[in-house]
Structure formats: structure tokens, C-alpha cells
């Protein structure tokens, strides 16, 4: 009696999770790139994206999650987001402006330059937050009880 019950237990949650997680990640992307127009932005999108992966990890186990996003990837992404943010600043210096002065990113229309700058900076924030939250989850969930 015990075994089939466990099987069924697995099924309901897994099916629902499989249905939900793609939409959660899609929603995270929406929040990320729609942040200029509605509530949202890099911080929120990063946390939601990480929450989607954490849900996967909770339901399917940490080992499976590590196969999807390896620990090494996380470590690289934590730094990559911050570097992307800094690189936008350096790029604006290279294009003749001040640090993080996005207007120079588009020579024809400063408003577009501002939009590009915000887009990339938010993307950097989003990547760092996602990776940092996942790294923290890995660290806590992957540890055996002392």
C-alpha cells in the first residue's frame, strides 16, 4: 500500500510543477524586460527566476537541479552579471561619456541610448541576483545536517 501511494504523491506535484515552471521562467523574463513599463526590473526578475529554479529543486531534488544549472555555471553567472553592469559603464566611457552615462550609447537619439543602458544594466542585475539566490539555495540545501 505504501509504495503506490508514494508514486501517486510524486505524480500530482510533479505534473503541476512541470506545467508551472516554464511559465514562471517566462514570467521572470516578462518582469525583467517589461520593468521599464510596469512594476518590475532586474531585482524582482532575478528573484522570481531563482524561485522557479528553487521550486524545481524542491520538487525534483537538488541533484536534478544541479544537472540543469551546474554549480560552476552559477559561480560564473554571479560574477558575470556584476561585470556586465560595470562593462556598460566602461563602454560609456569608451564612447565619450561619463561612467554609466547612457546617453552616448546611441549617437542619434539620446533617449534610445538611455533605454539601452537601462536594459543592459537591469539585465546585469537580474543575472547576478538569480545566480546569487541560487548559489545561496545550493549552499543551504546541499549541506548535510551536522
Amino acid at each position: 500500500m505504501k509504495t503506490p501511494m508514494r508514486m501517486r504523491e510524486k505524480i500530482v506535484l510533479r505534473v503541476v510543477a512541470q506545467a508551472c515552471i516554464p511559465f514562471i521562467l517566462l514570467f521572470a523574463l516578462y518582469v525583467q524586460f517589461h520593468g521599464d513599463f510596469g512594476p518590475g526590473g532586474g531585482f524582482q526578475a532575478g528573484v522570481i527566476c531563482a524561485a522557479g529554479f528553487i521550486l524545481y529543486g524542491l520538487i525534483f531534488g537538488l541533484d536534478k537541479l544541479k544537472k540543469v544549472v551546474s554549480f560552476r555555471t552559477i559561480e560564473i553567472l554571479v560574477a558575470a552579471g556584476l561585470l556586465l553592469y560595470g562593462a556598460v559603464g566602461l563602454l560609456t566611457i569608451g564612447m565619450g561619456g561619463n561612467y554609466l552615462d547612457y546617453k552616448v550609447l546611441d549617437h542619434h537619439d539620446p533617449t534610445h541610448g538611455l533605454h539601452y543602458g537601462i536594459l543592459f544594466v537591469e539585465l546585469g542585475v537580474g543575472i547576478t541576483v538569480t545566480a546569487a539566490m541560487l548559489a545561496i539555495f545550493y549552499a543551504f540545501a546541499g549541506r548535510e545536517r551536522a
Binding site: M5, P39, Q44, G57, L58, L62, G142
Partner: protein, 92 residues
């Protein structure tokens, strides 16, 4: 009439809060907290209409999502005392 819905939701939140504080077993508390979460979703949705700016429904969606994740995490913890493992002991 949004007010009536709002009052209903708030009263339900109060009842859920009492249940969460009182709940004799862990599962009663989880149940009450979960219910409280869905009521906050409704609260945000109704509050948006009440304030005349119902554009911020993304928020309500996030609440629903986060509430689900929180419930699953709490449940997994309550059952197995650990978050990361899935050693074929059955899931929740």
C-alpha cells in the same frame, strides 16, 4: 462593492491569522498560512481596483507563485526535515 469584497477578504485574513497562531498541529498552521497567502492575492487584486489603478496585477501573480513555493518548501521541511534531498523516499 469593492469595499464589501475587501472587508470579506480582510475578515478571512484575520480568521486565517487566528488559525495560524492557534493551529494545534504543524499542518494546521501550514494550511492557515497557505490560505492567508491566497487571501493576500485577492487583497492586492481588489485593492488595485479600489484605488482605481488595476494595472498592477503582476503583483498578485507573484504572491500566488511565492505562496505556492513557500507552502511546498514548508511541507517538504515538515515531512523530511531537509530541503535538498530526493532520495526516492516519496515526494510530499
Amino acid at each position: 462593492m469593492f469595499i464589501a469584497a475587501m472587508v470579506g477578504v480582510l475578515v478571512t485574513m484575520l480568521l486565517a491569522l487566528v488559525a495560524a497562531v492557534r493551529g494545534p498541529t504543524v499542518y494546521d498552521r501550514i494550511l492557515a498560512v497557505n490560505m492567508f497567502g491566497t487571501k493576500t492575492v485577492l487583497l492586492i487584486a481588489v485593492a488595485g481596483f479600489l484605488a482605481g489603478r488595476p494595472e498592477f496585477l503582476d503583483l498578485a501573480l507573484v504572491y500566488a507563485l511565492v505562496n505556492f513555493i513557500g507552502t511546498i518548501a514548508v511541507l517538504k521541511f515538515a515531512r523530511f526535515g531537509s530541503l535538498g534531498r530526493d532520495d526516492h523516499r516519496g515526494l510530499l
